[in-house]
């Protein structure tokens, strides 16, 4: 089963905007600013997999510093106090929230996995048989943050068949 899915950068930006307003920047002073730079570096990433009528992954990636700031905002602590465990927990929750909201834009019946977190760049992990179909690339207080969507090639092949 396969479906034609269009979730573009604007859709991802809307989700990111809600996450920032709710947890990372409730005062609205430090939003995620899109740059469109697909080659920006990342140092940590978290992902959730989606299966069903659409199959693929949603990946949240950032610099370690941005992840540390995010964890500090979530946990209401100073960023110097943030541990690796905190980073993993918050990155996983960010991937879960972003992935869940992306899933809402997909056809009904998709399932969301629990998040996976890797304290290494997104480029260090391969998503076999999947290709990036959209992405939001930006900076938050000068630190790179991205949200990307990867669709299973099997899914895409069925679409074009």
């Amino acid at each position: 089963m396969s479906v034609d899915v269009v979730v573009n950068e604007e859709d991802l930006a809307e989700v990111a905007g809600e996450v920032w307003v709710s947890y990372l920047d409730p005062d609205g002073v430090s939003p995620l600013v899109p740059t469109g730079d697909e080659k920006q570096p990342s140092e940590v990433h978290a992902s959730v997999s989606i299966s069903g009528p659409w199959t693929g992954h949603v990946v949240y990636a950032s610099s370690t510093e941005a992840a540390r700031k995010a964890a500090a905002a979530f946990l209401a602590m100073d960023s110097s106090e943030v541990s690796s465990e905190d980073l993993c927990d918050v990155l996983g929750e960010l991937a879960n929230i972003v992935g869940g909201n992306v899933k809402a834009m997909l056809p009904p019946g998709c399932l969301l996995s629990l998040p996976q977190v890797v304290l290494a760049p997104e480029s260090a992990t391969k998503y076999p048989n999947a290709e990036r179909i959209s992405g939001l690339y930006g900076v938050w207080d000068g630190e790179p943050v991205s949200i990307s969507m990867w669709q299973s090639r099997d899914d895409k092949n069925e679409e074009s068949a």
Binding site: V21, P26, F74, L75, D86, G92, E93, N96, K103, L114
Partner: protein, 128 residues
Amino acid sequence: MRAMVIDDSRAMRMILKRIVTKLSFEATEAGDGREALDLLGTMSEVPELALVDWNMPNMNGLEFVTKVRADPRLREMTLVMVTTESEQSQIVRALAAGAHEYVIKPFTEGAMIEKLALLGLVPTGANS
């Protein structure tokens, strides 16, 4: 009043605990549905409110809601699903299983307090 926050993310538990504590609830927490049921089994007084994530390891939120509603000792708890699952069919499933309200992540503190106020769980003046 007492509230239990059930979410596999420690960060999300902290955010939710912050909100309910602000509303004068005494808060406890659990990392999944199984842990929550175990903890409830040890409590002499059942919390009035539980905020329950859906996607959790071991026992998910929907299973937890179903088990609570089937347990005469627990079934009076007010259950609020707090989750990224926003499909209409999922919301209907949760409400049919016995959840009273449904909050979709991400949520602001104000939105959560509004939902709890709708359930009559916000003391007068607590959300001002």
